[in-house]
């Protein structure tokens, strides 16, 4: 085995609990989200600025969080005042700024967060209801007090203040409250005079000095927004380049240990049948019927190899139909297995999977590479609940080329409670560099079953270059 430098070894404390943070050497992009705060007085047009930014930056996994969700729940007396329009919702104390801070700092650490849902009808948080947020690359926080709390300001990468004259704000509020929310004119004006305006003057307008950029709230603020978006895009591009660079570095292993003998790599034995099927699948003249049939055959073999080390649950005695007792047979349970398919290439295992494990629960992950940067991006995920309870999680993919999306997929599973030792990647073809990256990202401890492994030195000589294109699933599904 490769000698792992001591500083990279998993740190194990005396009770034998492995430090979770060191399970992976990979920093997924969502653990370093880009955070934008947008503040400004009520009615200044913050949300429209926020949605214009979301629409222009074109990054999957952008999350928009409104501070309105973080109003403090009211007690009975306060609630009564709120119903009589006598409660001050516009002072900073009305908002649970500590919870905002906690939520944003957790998101910044890449943790899964739950955002409360506030009901303006009951003036309370809706019990047992929240929005779960996880894996954001860009987070936009919007609200009048976004730029108020110094702790919160420290978390932000970009602070924007949307400026508007207070009479314009009033005009906007009136039309919104009366037309969209069915309030009466007198009540609105009264609220404005008593709470909104004094708080804006006293608390909100001074936060302008905390902003990196102040943009006008006119309908023609297009240039200002474009400047901001250009700036944000430049920052995001730099971030994704760093991400891609990190992924590349994971493949640079100087101590070349043969992957054939790696304890976590299981290569389908190169029997005559396997060699002949591989040849047939590579032949561009193989018809679709044959291609699908033979792929399903080799996929069944691969799945079978992946299941060979299924854990033995017990050794309880059984009796045969001739009433012969077997004292300690090995009992296994295929129900402890789940499969996660990478959309769409992992779906080429569906047929063989259903033949092997008919009742298996199947999750899906869509990770796509950005066509410009090559950065993998998590687009969506459907995972079976309680991943931590499965004793084997098959992660199915047709090809590993640079390994980036596979690393991201494993990281997602880990963050949803999967144990690294239970994850079993099943892949038809893989490049040596891609496999090394995946191994290296997870301390050489992720089990991978592969039908064909293309050594790096062959690619350097210009051989087997077909393994660098995603042809396996395109041919199987008959579409590019």
């Amino acid at each position: 085995m490769t000698e792992i430098p001591s500083d990279l070894q998993r740190s194990t404390n005396k009770t034998g609990i492995v430090n979770k943070h060191l399970e992976s050497r990979y920093t997924p992009p969502w653990t370093t989200p880009y955070i934008i705060g947008i503040g400004g007085p009520s009615g200044s047009g913050k949300s429209s600025v926020a949605s214009k930014i979301v629409a222009s930056i074109n990054v999957p996994w952008t999350v928009l969080i409104s501070m309105d969700n973080f109003y403090n729940p009211l007690n009975e007396e306060e609630r009564q005042r709120a119903f009589n329009n006598e409660f001050d919702f516009d002072e900073p104390q009305a908002i649970d700024l500590d919870l905002v801070y906690e939520t944003i700092s957790n998101l910044k650490k890449g943790k899964k967060c739950q955002i409360p849902v506030y009901s303006f009808v009951h003036h309370n948080r809706v019990p047992n209801k929240h929005v779960t947020i996880y894996g954001a690359s860009v987070i936009i926080i919007e609200g009048i007090y976004t730029l108020y709390d110094p702790k919160l300001l420290d978390l932000m990468d970009l602070k924007i203040y949307v400026d508007a004259d207070l009479d314009i704000c009033l005009a906007r509020r009136l039309s919104r409250d009366i037309v969209s929310r069915g309030r009466d004119l007198n009540g609105c004006i009264d609220q404005w005079e008593r709470f909104v305006k004094p708080n804006a003057v006293k608390h909100v307008i001074p936060t302008m000095q905390n902003a990196d950029a102040i943009i006008p709230s006119m309908s023609d603020n297009g240039i200002a927004i474009k400047l901001l978006v250009d700036h944000i895009n430049a920052k995001l591009e730099k971030k994704s380049l760093e991400h891609v660079k990190e992924l590349i570095q994971l493949g640079n292993v100087h101590d070349i240990q043969s992957l054939e003998n790696h304890p976590y790599i299981h290569i389908l034995p190169k029997t005559n049948q396997v060699k002949a099927i591989i040849t047939m699948l590579l032949d561009k003249n193989t018809g679709l019927d044959d291609y699908i049939f033979y792929f399903d055959r080799i996929a069944t073999l691969l799945l079978s190899i992946a299941l060979d080390d299924i854990c033995i649950e017990s050794h309880d005695p059984i009796t045969t139909s001739l009433n012969i007792t077997i004292p300690n047979p090995a009992h296994i349970n295929f129900d402890n297995i789940t499969a996660i398919n990478m959309i769409r290439s992992g779906d080429i295992f569906i047929h063989s999977l259903k033949m092997t494990l008919p009742n298996v629960s199947i999750g899906k992950l869509l990770i796509q590479s950005d066509s410009m940067t090559g950065e993998p991006q998590l687009h969506c995920k459907f995972l079976p609940p309680h991943l931590e309870q499965f004793k084997k999680i098959l992660l199915l993919e047709a090809q590993i080329i640079n390994g980036a999306s596979m690393i991201m997929a494993i990281q997602v599973l880990l963050e949803y409670g999967a144990k690294l030792e239970n994850i079993n990647v099943v892949v038809y073809s893989a490049t040596e560099t891609g496999l090394r990256r995946v191994l290296n990202a997870f301390n050489d401890e992720v089990k991978i079953c592969v039908a064909m492994l293309i050594p790096e030195k062959e690619l350097r000589l210009g051989h087997n270059l077909w393994c660098l294109t995603r042809f396996i699933d395109s041919k199987y599904f008959g579409s590019k």
């Binding site: 034995p269 069944t300 299941l307 077997i326 296994i332 294109t469």
Partner: protein
């Protein structure tokens, strides 16, 4: 990888999965759908193992990137011959791997008068002499009917080294009896049981495979 506990005997790797599959099909409390499903899974593994012994020839193919790939191609035709009735349960597993495979049948039953196996019926592909033959019978106990069936094949011109006898469970005594008659035939099996009881049933075995697969 499979092992060779005896000459010309190929035993599937005794993994957790395989031993667990055998526990399922041996347990009398296993329901019939489960018995069929898990027996079929073992049969598939046996067929794949058997196919691995067939020869291949070098073959160069053009890949979609224009580069040639030096691979291999299948060589030699296969056919299946099942010993009726239990052996027929293995036909589907063979078909799942070789879609249009020809299948012959041999019916051998115990003669009530002599208590010896007797050939009742045979129907084999015409060109069987030119083929590799997978002889299908799930249990190799004494080897009596398998020997008789192999004899039929050889009389039809099949070369013994081209016969692969696929079974789920066998025992040393059965292997020895069979190989005494046909030392060159390859036996592909998933499990070697302790032996035979007084009624010549495999122990621990799993009871009558045909009954469990077709009836109970």
């Amino acid at each position: 990888m499979s092992t060779q506990p005896f000459k010309n005997v190929c035993l599937l790797p005794q993994t957790n999965q395989l031993t667990g599959l055998y526990t399922i099909i041996r347990d009398k409390n296993t329901t019939r759908p489960d018995f069929i499903f898990y027996a079929d899974r073992i049969i598939r593994l046996l067929v794949e193992e058997g196919l691995d012994h067939l020869p291949v020839v070098k073959k160069t193919v053009a890949t979609h990137t224009g580069e040639n790939y030096e691979g291999v191609g299948f060589q030699g035709n296969v056919c299946g011959v099942s010993i009726v009735r239990a052996g027929e349960s293995m036909e589907q597993g063979l078909r799942d791997c070789c879609r249009s495979v020809r299948i012959g049948k041999i019916l051998i039953q115990r003669d009530e008068e002599t208590a010896m196996p007797k050939l009742f019926y045979e129907k084999l592909p015409e060109d069987i002499a030119d083929r590799y033959v997978f002889l299908l019978d799930p249990m190799l106990a004494t080897g009596g009917s398998a020997i008789m069936a192999t004899d039929v094949l050889i009389k039809r011109g099949v070369k013994p080294e081209r016969i692969f006898f696929l079974n789920l469970i066998c025992c040393e005594e059965g292997i020895q009896n069979y190989h005494k008659a046909f030392p060159e035939v390859n036996i592909v099996t998933g499990c070697i049981d302790k032996g035979l009881n007084e009624q010549k049933y495999l122990v621990p075995g799993l009871g009558d495979f045909g009954d469990r697969y077709y009836c109970i």
